[in-house]
């Protein structure tokens, strides 16, 4: 007892100062301002929108295999193998390309092409009938999926930044799922946010292979009941003037999302809103080659379709070769043209998404919750503190000091780690108070027992702490174990609860055991031996 009390007291004061710094930081402006800058409030307390969305990575895989199938046909032709069809036969397996019609004598040459570096992402298997199936390797699918999710996050971040949201959270979510978490403080109109995020704004230019037709059936009939493997049916947007139509388009686009360098809202010659776009140099060259081969004055004139989010926006004959500039018209309002060109500028989402979870809290509900939570915490704590003073008299002061210090350290922890205080987090604080009281009660009851057994004050304190210590460790470790598991498997507000509970219990181990002991010791030191303890 009394070992290096001054040192211990200095240590406690240092901890107190450090954690107070954690709560307020370097003071600036009002105290309230300083605190709210350090302690982040969850969306349930300050209002905002919480979204969980899933990226359909299978789409990205499908479009990669589509492109490779076209390239494969060309490569086989270059290698002197013609009459081959490469494409996908199974829509539930976007990662598979089936190649059929390879002449038996050319099989070795074909294998040479498949095993070349270009198709390193694929595994080739040959069936008995000579059909070769290229399956994208799991590792390649995984890295493509990861890239797709990463690009989606980038795109969403750019769109959100342009909305002017401060401190948004946009990050991967879940365990190995293709999910993204978006948290937008201060924005409670989740509908509008969803719209802006969800529009994939995938702009492509496809060559037209046939159409327009009134319905899918009509399109099938016009093509002898079979859609050619290199083509797809795409619906056109219905407008006031024209009903919905169906077009037969070449499957692989001539120009796609990443080929666009810029897009701006503008007006066409009639003054109607449209969008002017610019292509990258590389895509411009490609586009020039294509349009000059198929312009109206060439041997095989054609037309092309501008497809936005898998709907045909516009179909135009190719009048002359185009290099890198073009425009999209088609019944936009001014706002739509502006929004759409923003989305084109920030880039298309690499795959479509769907929302799994949407939660939004208005600012007034959040404020009411804070007020009620704080009132509950203060009321509960006051009642407990008063009771401790009455029941344990002088020693009640120990408990009360330990409780206040516990709360300060808990908040300081949150300030330092930048963790978020949520509504269940406030509940976690209240429970921390309960556990803190429990530790004090355990110790005090033990000290009373020792005193009843006739021990002197100093040795009763010593024994009381020694006995209660084991129990306190056991109870705290079990609760921290469950809080950590809650943190690992929980989400959102539940995690906030786990965080405050864990910090609170760690702080409590320090305050209830160490600080309270130091207070007892310094109190006893100034008394004569054998003096009674107020407990």
């Amino acid at each position: 007892m009394g070992k290096n009390l001054a040192g211990k007291t200095a240590f406690i004061v240092a901890v107190l100062v450090i954690f107070c710094f954690g709560i307020v930081g370097i003071p600036h402006g009002s105290l309230k301002q300083s605190i709210t800058d350090r302690i982040h409030l969850g969306l349930d307390l300050k209002g905002g929108t919480h979204l969980v969305l899933e990226v359909h990575v299978a789409e990205a895989v499908a479009s990669a295999t589509d492109r490779d199938a076209v390239r494969l046909t060309q490569d086989l032709q270059t290698a002197g193998i013609s009459g081959v069809t490469a494409g996908k036969t199974d829509s539930t397996h976007p990662e598979k390309i089936t190649v059929s019609g390879i002449p038996i004598g050319k099989m070795t040459d074909a294998r040479g092409v498949f095993s070349g570096n270009t198709y390193g992402d694929y595994e080739a298997t040959t069936a008995a009938d000579g059909t070769v199936t290229l399956t994208m390797k799991q590792a390649a699918i995984r890295s493509l999926s990861e890239r797709t999710v990463d690009t989606s996050i980038e795109t969403i971040r750019e769109r959100i930044d342009k909305l002017g949201v401060t401190e948004p959270i946009i990050q991967k979510y879940g365990l190995g799922e293709n999910q993204i978490l978006v948290e937008l403080p201060g924005i409670s109109d989740s509908g509008r946010v969803e719209e802006i995020i969800q529009s994939t704004a995938k702009l492509e230019i496809h060559a037209v292979a046939g159409g327009p037709y009134a319905t899918d059936q009509e399109a099938l009939q016009a093509n002898n009941g079979v859609i050619p493997p290199d083509a797809v049916l795409v619906k056109g947007s219905a407008t006031a003037e024209s009903p919905e139509q169906v077009w037969l388009l070449k499957r692989v686009s001539e120009v796609e999302g990443t080929d666009f360098r810029d897009a701006q809202p503008s007006n066409d010659q009639n003054g109607r809103p449209n969008i002017t776009f610019t292509l990258t140099t590389e895509a411009g060259d490609r586009f020039y080659k294509y349009t000059s081969e198929h312009s109206s004055s060439s041997a095989s004139p054609g037309s092309m379709a501008i497809v936005l989010d898998n709907r045909v926006r516009e179909v135009a004959g190719i009048q002359s070769a185009i290099r890198d500039r073009g425009e999209i018209t088609g019944g936009f309002t001014k706002q739509q043209a502006a929004d759409l060109s923003l989305m084109l500028r920030t880039g298309a989402l690499p795959a479509s998404i769907s929302f799994l979870e949407t939660r939004s809290v208005g600012p007034s509900l959040g404020q009411a919750s804070i007020r009620q939570g704080v009132i509950a915490a203060v009321a509960g704590m006051t009642a407990v503190m008063i009771f401790m003073l009455i029941y344990y008299r002088g020693s009640g002061i120990n408990a009360d000091l330990a409780l206040i210090l516990n709360l300060l350290i808990l908040l300081g922890f949150m300030g330092f780690t930048g963790s978020t205080l949520t509504l269940p987090g406030i509940a976690g604080v209240i429970l921390t108070i309960g556990m803190g009281v429990d530790s004090n009660v355990l110790i005090f009851e033990r000290i009373r027992e020792e005193l009843r057994a006739g021990k002197a004050a100093a040795s009763a304190v010593q024994q009381g702490f020694a006995h209660a210590w084991i129990t306190i460790i056991d109870t705290h470790v079990t609760t921290i174990v469950s809080a950590l598991i809650l943190f690992l498997f929980g989400t959102g507000p539940v995690r906030g609860f786990a965080v405050t509970l864990t910090f609170g219990l760690l702080a409590n181990l320090f305050t209830a055991v160490f600080v309270s002991r130091v207070i007892f010791d310094s109190h006893l030191k100034n008394k004569e031996r054998g003096a009674a303890l107020s407990i």
């Binding site: 769907s354 939660r359 208005g362 129990t471 079990t478």
Partner: protein, 320 residues
């Protein structure tokens, strides 16, 4: 001041009363779960849309229902928000069941509800306070996570108690908290209150709390076993419970006080959360005395009846 001093109650002698009491509560809860209200799950787990609207004046639920019906949403349930402290809350929760099995269409109804309210309540003001839309995938995911969290934290505690005491101590403690969870979930079923994510957090809290209580008693049993050799196990257990009774009542009482203030002042958002804790603390305190300790003794009696040595599961310290 002191409440309890030298209490000498024969707790284990009352084990049949305890058993009856526990059975009544858990069986009625289970019956309600099976045949009456089921387990009322909130939108977090079932999926669907929930819109909380605050009106300036006391809203008429029938008018809202008609307005939404005209707006083309026919299966909405409209529930008035009740505040535990008795304040009239001019709020309703409009709940729509899940739109379809696909995530693509997970919020079909929200816009229609908003439009319907806008069209019908332009004069008397209203405010959309909270929107929660959970798609089918997320609902399943959250449900799975809640299960995993509960099961894993129980396993974590069991392993810790096994390590610190002996396996039977861990098993008895886990049975006790399972008993508490069952009764608490039963209370939600009986009162037809929805179980949400925050309620799950509360249930995990009560598991931790009840475990605490049990450990305090077990710790005392271990300690007493190490020093006394003449008493029978049930005498030691009785004595240990009596010795810790003062602490048990104080801590539970004070924790109950804080939780009660949460229930009364925490607002309706935390209603379910604090309800679970109010029930859980009462039952968790009870179970450490009435379920966990008798189980420990019953196990030893069973061992003795099979002719095995009455090895007191005293933990490492006691054996030394």
């Amino acid at each position: 001041m002191e409440f309890f001093r030298g209490t000498n109650i024969d707790w284990l002698g009352k084990k049949w009363y305890f058993l009856g009491f526990s059975l009544i509560f858990s069986v009625s809860g289970v019956l309600s779960m099976l045949f009456w209200h089921g387990i009322p799950k909130g939108v977090d787990f079932t999926g669907g849309t929930q819109i909380r609207v605050a009106f300036d004046q006391n809203p008429n639920e029938d008018h809202i229902r008609q307005a939404i019906d005209r707006g083309g949403v026919h299966n909405a349930s409209i529930q008035r928000v009740s505040d535990p402290s008795g304040h009239a809350a001019n709020k309703v929760i409009i709940a729509l069941p899940i739109a379809s099995a696909s995530d693509q269409a997970h919020d079909v109804g929200r816009q229609s509800v908003e439009n319907a309210l806008n069209a019908n309540y332009r004069d008397s003001k209203f405010q959309i306070e909270q929107v929660e839309i959970v798609g089918p995938t997320a609902g399943k995911q959250l449900q799975k996570q809640a299960w995993l969290a509960t099961v894993y934290s129980l396993i974590g505690m069991l392993v810790y108690l096994w390590f610190r005491f002996e396996l039977i101590y861990g098993v008895a403690a886990v049975v006790a908290v399972f008993h508490d969870t069952l009764i608490t979930v039963g209370a939600f079923s009986l009162t037809n209150q929805e179980i949400t994510l925050t309620v799950i957090a509360a249930i995990l809290t009560l598991i931790g709390y009840s475990m605490n209580d049990t450990i305090v008693v077990f710790d005392r049993i271990r300690e007493n076993l190490a020093t006394s050799r003449r008493e029978t196990l049930s005498e030691v257990v009785n004595r240990s419970i009596n010795q810790t009774l003062s602490r048990t009542v104080l801590t539970s009482g004070l924790t109950f006080l804080t939780v009660l203030s949460l229930y009364l002042f925490g607002g309706e958002v935390l209603h379910g959360f604090s309800f679970a804790l109010v029930v859980g603390i009462l039952i968790g305190t009870y179970s450490s005395i009435a379920v966990a300790a008798p189980m420990l003794v019953a196990y030893q009696d069973w061992r003795a009846s099979r002719g095995k040595a009455v090895s007191l599961p005293a933990g490492k310290r006691a054996r030394a």
